[in-house]
């Protein structure tokens, strides 16, 4: 299949900004992406905007038109909602729009504002990514859902909290130079193990923070990019989307992520690559266990093997496969609707040398972004390559 060039990226700082409206944050990210691409608002053909709880957090439905207005256009736009995978799927829809030939210049991104809801309100909002009837009404919070998967993983494959703690320590360390990160704070394994329990066996430092922020990408068709002499350094060459049952109770295994596997296989096939070709990944580590489930679902590790990867140093900056050089959701932050686009932005900037951690991967030409929704009932995977 044809590719879509990532000609521009932009993001706000991720953090706690309860007073900033979504339209304000998306304008900052989107206009930065347009500037990076060297394009104007009038050049935009279509906007794909990821957002999860805006209807609750900002009392605002129909956010698509507001996203376009924030970019200085009334170009057709829609809000894409797939919980934490909202903007990963906005990117996928944007890639499909470019590949279909219907659009040449597309903005894909997303925004989330949650800190204004308070911890209880945000916990309530995030729980909506689970099944209302059979999970939320049985007391399942979002951390609880991942805790259920963690316990099932330990039971099926082994591993312990200390293995998970090394993932948190690694991702915090990676974020230390990322000035857009929510948490720029060095932590130790003991800090993680001693952090307050939120849903046992997961503690506070196993979890990503509740973040506000926005991210955006400008995607171009090859013909438009060449005709206008725009950045053709990095392209999305593969895209995949996988699904699963909403509720954990309907799955055969609670310790694996088949939607990730399906999305990855589709994206690898689309790009014509195998997992062995990949030199860096940004994966959906909303909780430490999620990084493990992702790496195994992506086929980068066998089932039961990724739990010790950070502890062994393999997924660290100087390891065989650097994972979440941006800091991941864990430290960079997780403004839910912005996360998928921010991951693709990080991979593009790591590949083209403009990311603050790019020096760790200067010889890498193929990267991957993995974004998961709910307890991985939705997964979006994108393969990015340095254009040859």
């Amino acid at each position: 299949m044809s590719k879509a060039f990532v000609a521009g990226t932009g993001m706000t700082a991720f953090g706690t900004f309860p007073d900033r409206r979504g339209r304000d944050m998306f304008a900052e990210a989107g206009l930065a992406a347009l500037d990076d691409a060297g394009l104007e608002p009038a050049d935009i053909d279509e906007v794909f905007y990821g957002n999860f709880v805006g209807t609750l957090a900002e009392n605002q439905g129909h956010q698509g038109p507001l996203a376009s207005e924030a970019l200085g256009t009334t170009a057709p736009s829609r809000r894409v909602e797939s919980a934490c995978a909202s903007s990963g799927l906005a990117v996928r829809d944007a890639v499909r729009a470019v590949r279909s030939g219907e659009a040449d210049v597309v903005v894909a991104g997303g925004m989330e504002r949650m800190s204004n809801m308070g911890t209880a309100g945000a916990t309530d909002g995030l729980a909506r990514a689970a099944d209302d009837l059979f999970e939320i009404r049985s007391g399942v919070t979002f951390p609880a859902a991942y805790a259920l998967m963690t316990r099932a993983y330990f039971d099926e494959f082994g591993g312990d909290r200390e293995d998970l703690a090394h993932i948190a320590v690694k991702n915090h360390d990676n974020a230390l130079v990322n000035d857009h990160a929510h948490l720029q704070e060095e932590i130790t394994v003991d800090d993680v193990l001693e952090s307050p329990e939120i849903a046992a066996p997961l503690g506070l430092y196993d979890a990503c923070p509740i973040s506000d922020g926005a991210a955006a990408l400008v995607l171009l068709s090859p013909s438009y990019a060449e005709e206008h002499g725009l950045d053709t350094g990095v392209a999305i060459t593969g895209s995949g989307h996988g699904g699963d049952t909403m509720a954990l109770q309907d799955r055969q295994s609670l310790a694996t992520a088949p939607a990730t596997r399906d999305a990855a296989e589709a994206a690898y096939d689309d790009a014509g690559i195998s997992p062995d070709d990949i030199g860096l990944v940004e994966v959906h580590d909303c909780f430490t266990i999620a990084e493990v489930l992702a790496l195994e679902g992506l086929g980068l590790y066998s089932y039961g093997e990724a739990i010790g990867a950070a502890r062994r140093g393999e997924t660290c900056r100087d390891g065989t496969l650097p994972v979440n050089l941006s800091g991941g959701l864990k430290a960079k932050g997780h403004p839910v609707g912005a996360t998928g686009a921010a991951q693709v932005a990080a991979v593009r900037n790591l590949l083209n040398g403009t990311h603050p951690r790019a020096d760790a991967v200067d010889d890498v030409t193929v990267g991957l972004a993995h974004n998961a929704g709910g307890t991985v009932a939705s997964a979006a995977v994108h393969v990015l390559e340095v254009a040859r």
Binding site: G139, L148, A152, T245
Partner: protein
């Protein structure tokens, strides 16, 4: 949440509460909790109603310290997934010390009110 009756789901809770729990099984043996029109695993529309076994076995569990507002007064509480024969249910496990809960533990299921909201909640109890 509203007071409205929800077809399929409320009938299922009524049956659980009366000790007459059931589930659906498709022709290919996939076990499902109502309400369902069709099996999500294989698309089969032939769903037989099967009696829910009286006891189940915990397959995973967590102790929730930070709840949603609907469970504010219930926390800390144990939420678990248990398998009853071939079907799995998610519920709150009561009458246990959270540190004693074990995968493989035998439980019964019923419907009780959540402390915070009085909403009907699928509830497990240890089975000795």
């Amino acid at each position: 949440m509203t007071d409205a009756h929800e077809d399929g789901y409320d009938a299922f809770l009524d049956a659980l509460e009366a000790g007459e729990g059931y589930y659906y099984e498709c022709s290919n043996g996939h076990a499902l909790v109502p309400p369902r029109h069709v099996c999500p695993h294989c698309g089969d529309r032939e769903l037989d109603q099967v009696t829910l076994p009286e006891t189940g076995e915990l397959v995973t569990h967590t102790t929730v310290a930070v709840p949603t507002p609907q469970f504010e007064d219930d926390a800390p509480y144990v939420t678990a997934i248990a398998t009853f024969g071939s079907v799995k249910l998610t519920g709150i496990l009561r009458d246990v010390d959270p540190s004693d809960v074990k995968i493989g533990q035998s439980v019964t299921v019923t419907v009780e009110s959540a402390e915070t909201t009085d909403e009907r909640t699928i509830t497990f109890h240890p089975h000795n």
